[in-house]
């Protein structure tokens, strides 16, 4: 066997050219770059507590950010590949792992897709139970995000209050599903179990109190002049840029575009409920941080409506065969509005009990794309307020 040198080594000349970008791919931050005396490169993360499980390569000139290159991928788990080796039911516990705080919403598109593949009709009561679970989970996620947003802006009261009030809803989810965070509650054909006795009453009481509590956040956080000074007019995303970059959820609605999947493509019983999608036109970090808070009040409203309209009795789950499988080659794409934006799931079936291919289209990754554009020209001190306002969850982006 003759060994030949690869062609790219032969052609390399003796002098290294730094100006031209090398054709060989290198991980970000490792490629040779021309050194500018004024510009300093700063790695924020992956060990930095303010970055999440990712790295932000920030170039600064004095105190101003010249360029930012987000480098996700530190918590890649191969969820999509794992799904190809498990059947439609055993996929449920591991598919909710990317966002354990929003586990009902990340399972929702998968379950809707599998139901269409298998041709299952879901009972009416199960649809309402799912809507209640999804809305409670959205609030649980937003409260967690709000706590993190508060602590990274140096507002430790805003860390304590949401973490405590989140307990009210976690308690409800625990009563409903039997687990505090990873519920594994949704299943193709409905939900795993019926609601416990007098759940409606307890739910209504705790959700009403929860709404009263989150209204108190206005004085301490959202109307606080210190927060307004730090977030207003920082990281402005214009309406055109929001469309061009393809951001979703609260980031999109903060830029003045009324787009909510629950309203535009209603799934389950969302078309029977009155949903108010909140839109702000400023497009700055303040608007992006305020919209999830207003969303929570809307969620409380939806939960109350769903509790009222829900059929008082009936089945909540269709009994499935042991190894459910699709009918030959088929594809399906479903999406829902999660706590961060539109979350899609694309499933390809080839008639076997396992999916042939599964793809999750996650809002966190789509919102992260906007970050380099938002940070350009900002002060380094404003980086946390802009970065966390994107409603970004690193584990979900990596899947």
């Amino acid at each position: 066997m003759t060994t030949e040198l690869p062609t790219d080594i032969k052609s390399t000349s003796s002098e290294i050219q730094i100006d031209k970008p090398s054709s060989k791919w290198l991980p970000p931050g490792l490629a040779l770059q021309k050194v500018d005396e004024k510009i300093m490169t700063l790695n924020v993360g992956p060990q930095h507590p303010g970055s999440g499980h990712m790295r932000l390569i920030v170039q600064i000139d004095g105190d101003y950010i010249v360029a930012c290159d987000p480098d996700p991928g530190y918590v890649h788990r191969g969820e999509e590949k794992m799904a190809e080796y498990r059947n439609y039911i055993t996929n449920i516990p591991h598919l909710e792992r990317p966002v354990i705080h929003d586990s009902c919403n990340i399972l929702y598109p998968y379950v809707l897709g599998v139901e269409e593949l298998l041709g299952i009709e879901v009972p009416e009561r199960a649809k309402y139970v799912r809507v209640i679970a999804a809305e409670l989970n959205r609030c649980i996620y937003i409260m967690y995000w709000l706590a993190i947003y508060g602590i990274f802006l140096g507002h430790s009261t805003m860390f304590m209050w949401p973490t405590g009030d989140r307990e009210l809803l976690i308690d409800l989810m625990e009563k409903m599903t039997g687990a505090r965070v990873t519920h594994s509650h949704f299943i193709p054909g409905g939900v795993r179990n019926d609601l416990p006795a007098n759940f409606e009453e307890v739910c209504l009481r705790q959700v009403n109190y929860f709404e009263k509590r989150i209204k108190e956040y206005a004085a301490v956080f959202y109307d606080n002049p210190i927060l307004i000074a730090r977030t207003q007019d920082t990281g402005v995303l214009s309406r055109q840029d929001a469309i061009r970059l393809g951001v979703t959820g609260s980031v999109l609605r903060a830029s003045g575009i009324d787009y909510d999947v629950r309203k535009k493509e209603p799934y389950d019983v969302y078309d029977e409920l009155d949903i108010q999608s909140i839109v702000m036109t400023e497009g700055d970090a303040y608007a992006r941080s305020k919209i999830p808070w207003l969303d929570m009040m809307d969620s409380c409203n939806i939960i109350r409506q769903a509790l009222q309209k829900m059929p008082k009795s009936g089945s909540v789950r269709v009994k499935l065969k042991p190894n459910p499988k699709g009918k030959g080659f088929d594809t399906v794409y479903k999406r829902v509005e999660s706590g961060r934006g539109s979350l899609g799931c694309y499933i390809v079936s080839d008639g076997k009990p396992e999916p042939y291919r599964l793809k999750l289209s996650v809002p966190s990754f789509r919102n992260l794309i906007a970050l380099p554009y938002l940070l350009k020209g900002e002060k380094l001190g404003n980086m946390p307020s802009v970065y966390w306002s994107l409603n970004y969850w690193p584990v979900e982006a990596d899947r």
Partner: protein
């Protein structure tokens, strides 16, 4: 609204909370009350019964050693292994029963959904920590024991705020 008014309002809102009841649960002394006796599943209707997904409870007089729970766990956590048991039952010719490794279990409850003989349920017992890895492996004899759980604390909402009482 001026800056000074805003800051005073924020401080005022914080000071009001000095009178609000403590929400935190003093865990080892107080324990949360759960719904029912743990997650259960009725194979005749195909619907689960709400409850906490805690440690499992195995009924030796019902288990047939069919391994359906172990098969259900295969793609999830591989926590269930079928082991030999000394006692002989007429309905369990092979004399095998599930042994659960709680170092691997994710408490999804799909094994309970898989059991067609009402033999495997979950309980309200969530205090499973031990000092060794082997201590997390529960044999069929350990799984048979019904746990004693004293749980009484619930969220109570009054005018002074929510608290665990």
């Amino acid at each position: 609204m001026g800056t000074a008014t805003g800051i005073i309002r924020a401080l005022n809102s914080g000071i009001k909370h000095l009178a609000v009841k403590r929400f935190t649960l003093r865990y080892p002394e107080e324990k949360l009350k759960f719904v029912g006796d743990g997650y259960q599943y009725d194979p005749s209707t195909g619907v689960g019964i709400a409850g906490l997904k805690g440690r499992h409870l195995l009924f030796h007089d019902k288990c047939t050693g069919c391994q359906l729970c172990a098969i259900a766990c295969e793609g999830v956590a591989e926590a269930i292994a079928m082991v030999k048991v000394p006692e002989q039952h007429k309905h369990n010719k092979k004399a095998i029963m599930p042994q659960i490794d709680y170092g691997k279990c994710v408490f999804c409850g799909l094994c309970v959904d898989a059991c067609p003989f009402y033999a495997l349920y979950m309980t309200n017992d969530y205090e499973l920590s031990t000092f060794s890895k082997e201590g997390l492996i529960y044999t069929p004899a350990q799984l048979q024991v019904k746990p004693y759980v004293a749980q009484d604390s619930e969220i109570i909402i009054t005018d002074r705020g929510a608290s665990h009482g």
